[in-house]
């Protein structure tokens, strides 16, 4: 316990330095700024803003990215409430009651309850991340290469089983990502692999090129195909940001329930935050005395899911920070950012770079605070941004992404590679392949290969090592069971309902 406090104190010491506070605040602000723009989800937002953090010191950059992540999440909820367009899969349920509230002139209350709920969830989860960080890390340090490999397999399988769409296609995407990660120099021998003798590929395919190509450019092109619909933008001024006493009393238990559900579900890989918000909504409906009134502007229907998705968004950091395994696409982007800064994500981060680890955890809390004190009062600005027509937005994003990609290495060839991945991403969308599992496979590829190689070397080429070592066997067994279960028709139906 005293360890925990000492660690948190260290973290807050780092995070409260004026520069890092500034990075966190700017991150949350810019994240919301981009996140409220129509058609841009949090993955795209982070991918777009990734390049501008590269110039910062590692701790500052990661703190800023975390801020951007929360900001983007909150931006998604803002659009859900104000214009009934959830910027994010996680805020789909927020739109149900949130937009109804907005129609009744209570947009301010809905937005502030969303922010307060998120903040509360953030506070609780920050402590949870800190508390679970140390023990999980010490477990992870006991892992050998075989266990690590099996753990990564489990993580990837989990992500596939819980994500939406066909499991088979998602698996194919993961392996595509693994394969792409093999381009470049071999870690041990330095031999160029699948580089086609191009010096541009000697260091592998740049992570940012893939991320920006598939999530930046390809998204834009996809959005262009959606016919411009008459968006029901709220013309009324948003007033009365303060929720009433009754609002607060009604939503307090919902926030607590949402936080609990979110924190637990968020640790699981896959679409944690999405499932968490849906689960929270249905639980609120069950607990309510008036379940039939949901969908007509019930504040509980905003408070619960919003707390849940924020808690889940944050507890998703647990597997990343302790085990080095990204549970979803956003965390995969964080891994990419860490790698660019020379940090190898995993259990050793906490011991070798405690100021980074605890600083990031503390900054989560600051990021949540920033949402309440900066973003809420700026509602008017977000509404104005929502009115920017897409025809002016998308060329600006193209330019911004181009400069971003180019700025990483000052290499025009990087821009071309990103363009290639834009085409790939567009094609993926046409064939209903999810790009997120590919990104996960891409960032985990080198780590998986390294551990696989080591495990095989230690076991002197004996493949059974993955099944004879108990922890590894349990992990692989769980992965196998998950995969089989996802194929069962009964569960598949449930999954589809959840995704709907």
């Amino acid at each position: 316990m005293s360890d925990l406090l000492a660690n948190l104190a260290l973290g807050f010491g780092v995070a409260f330095s004026p520069m890092n506070m500034l990075f966190c605040m700017i991150g949350a602000l810019v994240g919301t700024l981009i996140g409220v723009l129509p058609g841009i989800g949090s993955v795209a937002t982070i991918a777009m803003l990734l390049p501008i953090t590269f110039g910062l010191p590692p701790v500052g950059a990661l703190i800023m990215l975390a801020g951007i992540y929360y900001g983007a999440q909150y931006g998604g909820s803002t659009t859900a409430v104000l214009v009934n367009i959830p910027g994010e899969a996680t805020s789909v349920v927020t739109a149900l009651d949130g937009h109804e509230m907005a129609k009744q002139g209570r947009a301010g209350a809905a937005l502030s309850i969303a922010a307060i709920g998120s903040f509360f969830a953030g506070c609780v989860t920050t402590v949870l991340v800190a508390a679970l960080g140390a023990p999980l890390t010490s477990v992870a340090l006991l892992f050998g290469p075989a266990e690590y490999f099996s753990l990564m397999v489990l993580g990837l399988i989990f992500a596939v089983v819980l994500a939406k769409g066909s499991v088979l296609k998602a698996l194919a995407m993961i392996v595509t990502g693994l394969l792409l990660s093999q381009v470049g120099s071999d870690l041990e021998t330095g031999a160029g692999r699948m580089t086609f003798d191009l010096p541009e590929l000697a260091d592998g395919i740049g992570f940012a090129n893939i991320a920006l190509g598939m999530f930046g450019f390809a998204e834009i092109v996809r959005n262009l195909e959606i016919p411009p619909e008459g968006r029901d933008i709220l013309m009324r001024k948003v007033t009365n940001l303060m929720p009433t006493r009754e609002d607060l009393i009604r939503s307090a238990p919902s926030i607590a329930r949402g936080t609990t559900i979110g924190a637990i579900i968020g640790i699981l890989p896959g679409a944690g935050a999405v499932i968490a918000s849906f689960a929270a909504y249905s639980i609120e409906k069950k607990f309510s005395k008036y379940p039939e009134k949901f969908g007509t502007g019930m504040i509980e229907g905003v408070a619960g899911p919003e707390a849940a998705n924020n808690a889940a968004a944050q507890s998703a950091f647990i597997p990343l920070l302790t085990l080095g395994i990204p549970p979803n696409a956003v965390m995969a982007l964080m891994v990419g950012a860490m790698t660019i800064h020379g940090i190898v994500p995993g259990p050793q981060v906490m011991t070798k770079q405690p100021e980074l680890f605890w600083g990031m955890i503390a900054s989560m809390w600051i990021g949540n605070l920033a949402l309440v004190i900066i973003n809420l009062p700026l509602v008017g600005l977000w509404v104005a941004l929502l009115r920017v027509p897409y025809r002016l937005l998308f060329p600006s994003i193209v330019v911004f992404c181009c400069i971003g990609v180019y700025s990483i290495n000052n290499a025009p060839s990087d821009v071309l590679i990103a363009a290639l991945f834009a085409v790939v991403g567009y094609w993926f969308a046409k064939h209903d392949f999810e790009p997120a599992p590919m990104l996960l496979g891409f960032v985990l590829g080198p780590l998986m290969e390294e551990n696989l190689r080591r495990a095989m070397l230690i076991a002197r080429g004996d493949v059974t090592v993955f099944f004879t070592r108990p922890i590894s066997a349990v992990l692989l067994g769980t992965a196998f069971v998950m995969l089989v279960m996802s194929g069962l028709p009964m569960l598949r139906k449930r999954r589809e309902i959840l995704v709907e």
Binding site: I52, G55, S166, L168, K169, A172, V175, T176, L179, Q182, D186, T189, A191, R193, M194, F196, D197, L198, E200, F217, I220, V221, L224, E225, P389, Y390, R391, L392, F394, P395, S396, V398, V399, F400, C402, I403, Y406, S407, P412, S413, V415, L416, A418, A419, L420, A422, V423, V424, W427, K430, H431, D432, F433, E449, L452, R453, M456, L457, R460, G461
Partner: protein, 245 residues
């Protein structure tokens, strides 16, 4: 990978009930792409596995074209085929790397392992495309993608010789043609504002070393850049097919 992409664009441009013209087009594209892959296998040392797989895909393409295969879910069917071809391309590209030595993985082991795994999984995806009914492939709208792609490529061309300001402005102005609602005055103003914003952000706030205005020898540099890009795009093809020619 590049040919995997181009083939996919034609790989069933829109809906495909079994045996119709779309199947014909899709199948032909698959067959032609596998012919290209087949050519590539002639320059590697141990071509048996990739060559056999390529021929199998080629035959599949021909069979599709002439209506022998009921394509019920074109999205999955062609998607799986393209990924299989990507796997073959990876097998070809990693063919010359040393494999396992004793207990130790060679540099080529993992790439080949992943490639074979991908081939198996995407073959299953293709199979699903035959056995179960699925949605047709959405129509490819060329306007948006082409203009945006052109804008991105021109940015890559212009950024060094012409500098950030001209490159950004032109990229903005070109990509807006991807939309159907372009208005000249508004666009020019918005492009100028965005350019100014980016200069402010990247050059003055983030202190990145960008060339702002055209370099004195811009024209020569532009040609150099163009030559570079051609090397980048044609390099893979030349490496494997140029040997034979």
């Amino acid at each position: 990978m590049s040919d995997g992409v181009t083939s996919s664009q034609g790989g069933g441009p829109n809906s495909g009930a079994p045996g119709n013209t779309n199947s014909f087009r899709g199948g032909i594209v698959v067959a032609v792409a596998s012919l290209l892959l087949l050519l590539m296998t002639f320059s590697i040392a141990s071509p048996t596995v990739p060559r056999v797989l390529t021929i199998a895909i080629g035959l599949l393409g021909v069979a599709t074209a002439f209506g022998f295969i009921p394509v019920r879910a074109p999205q999955d069917y062609y998607g799986g085929i393209v990924l299989m071809m990507l796997a073959i391309l990876a097998l070809i590209a990693s063919a010359d790397l040393p494999g396992q030595r004793g207990f130790a993985f060679g540099p080529g082991t993992a790439p080949r392992l992943f490639a074979i795994l991908l081939f198996g999984l995407s073959a299953a995806v293709t199979l699903v495309g035959i056995t179960s009914v699925g949605p047709a492939i959405e129509k490819y709208r060329l306007r948006g993608p082409l203009w945006v792609l052109l804008a991105i490529i021109l940015f890559a061309m212009f950024i060094r010789p012409l500098g950030l300001i001209i490159a950004s402005f032109l990229t903005w102005m070109i990509s807006i043609f991807g939309s159907t609602e372009m208005r000249w005055l508004e666009s020019v103003i918005a492009a100028a504002v965005m350019t100014a914003f980016c200069v402010l952000l990247f050059v003055y706030l983030l202190n990145l070393p960008f060339q702002l205005w055209p370099q004195p020898n811009a024209f020569a540099l532009l040609w150099q850049q163009l030559a570079e890009f051609f090397r980048l795009m044609l390099g893979p093809l030349l490496k494997y097919i140029g040997v034979i020619a």
